[in-house]
Symmetry: C2
Subunit: 230 residues, 2 copies
């Protein structure tokens, strides 16, 4: 079998979800560093892999793929990983797919949008946009509300009432981890009321460590460097 | 087998994609009219089916599901529909999933966002938002660019170079059809340059008629009624 290549920048939350999935499942891969906001994304070679100029993407021989959820489901089906990551049972799989689809216009829109309309704006030569930030914060808080009261059922540890994590847990938690960039106080203001969400993040971390900490180290390095340059 | 119930408002583009899929494939279902912007979405009975208070959703006995892409993939796997709708082959399915995932933050964000920040804003007691509209238009035009130059390969009729439609064709075309609400001139300004996109829409229509026209009739009725009340 050809070597799996993962085109990655660990500062990207979907990249981290894919790398974490590979590491936790012992899937061998070559990590091809592909820096966001750099010319790495603009080369003809990379655009043949991902014309959207984003990360992550994968290549396996001639087969290439982008969009992290498509990658996670493809890897879960192609490698022999335990069923809980992406259940074969049609009803369970459909429910999981529903969480993954929901994610795009809710948690991801809110979290990414909030970061880019506040603290990250100046780094890209833009002014913070208070109106957009308020809209994104509302979406983000609604998303926590949904995770707390819909996806984290009763006392189950993971999404959809499961006692083991799925690819949806990896995707959503990787997204939420990015909010550490906001600093403790602002992050606490948003996530503070959601006790089940906080316990779930800790459970996903525990279930996937030591890989979780290793894969997220990059994020905390970025945060430390931003603080130093502030 | 229990009767498939589809909770539907045909003014919603993802609802139309689901109903069209069922009709084209001869899947029997009961259409439960569930009006957007009405109390239909707020009843405890409906919230047990879709706590997001949106349409479409389905129920099959005790099993319930929301998010149109999750519904389409579930139906394609549960009923005996021709393979081209959602191929069993892992690589083909992954590529299709990539289009479906891309859709959320690109074509759907752009098309929905543009409509709600321009002509639909006053109907919801809001002012049009020129800055947001410009951002959404950019995303929408970029999405047409991607469909034209990435997904519609060479001279193939349908997305990803296929000669028969998939669930992604239904989802994306249903979304684009909503832009008829803008009127011919404004719609032409956006989609005019994309000849392959226009031919593809006609091909999807042809491949799924008479159901396509029947399912979209509701949209043209809404447009006629808005014009009359303008």
């Amino acid at each position: 079998m050809a070597t799996l290549k993962v085109y990655a920048d660990r500062r990207s939350q979907p990249t981290r979800a894919v790398i974490l999935f590979c590491k936790v499942n012992g899937i061998e891969f070559e990590e091809v560093e592909t820096q966001l906001f750099s010319n790495d994304l603009n080369t003809p070679e990379y655009q043949a892999i991902n014309p959207m100029k984003k990360v992550p993407a994968i290549a396996l021989g001639d087969f290439t793929l982008f969009e992290s959820h498509a990658i996670l489901t493809y890897l879960a089906c192609s490698y022999h990983v335990p069923d809980h990551w992406y259940p074969v049972d049609l009803s369970k799989r459909a429910k999981l797919q529903s969480v993954l689809d929901w994610h795009h216009a809710n948690l991801r829109y809110g979290a990414m949008g909030y970061l880019f309309s506040t603290m990250l704006a100046p780094l890209f030569g833009k002014s913070p946009n208070a109106e957009l930030a308020a809209d994104c914060e509302q979406k983000l808080v609604q998303s926590f509300e949904t995770i707390e009261n819909v996806w984290l059922k009763d006392d189950a540890k993971f999404l959809l009432g499961y006692d083991q994590p799925s690819i949806a847990d990896l995707s959503l938690v990787s997204e939420i981890m990015q909010l550490h960039m906001l600093g403790d106080e602002e992050r606490e203001r948003m996530i503070g009321p959601y006790k089940k969400v906080q316990r779930w993040i800790a459970d996903v971390k525990e279930a996937t460590n030591p890989h979780f900490d290793e894969v997220h180290q990059c994020l905390f390095d970025v945060i430390a460097s931003l603080k130093q340059n502030a």
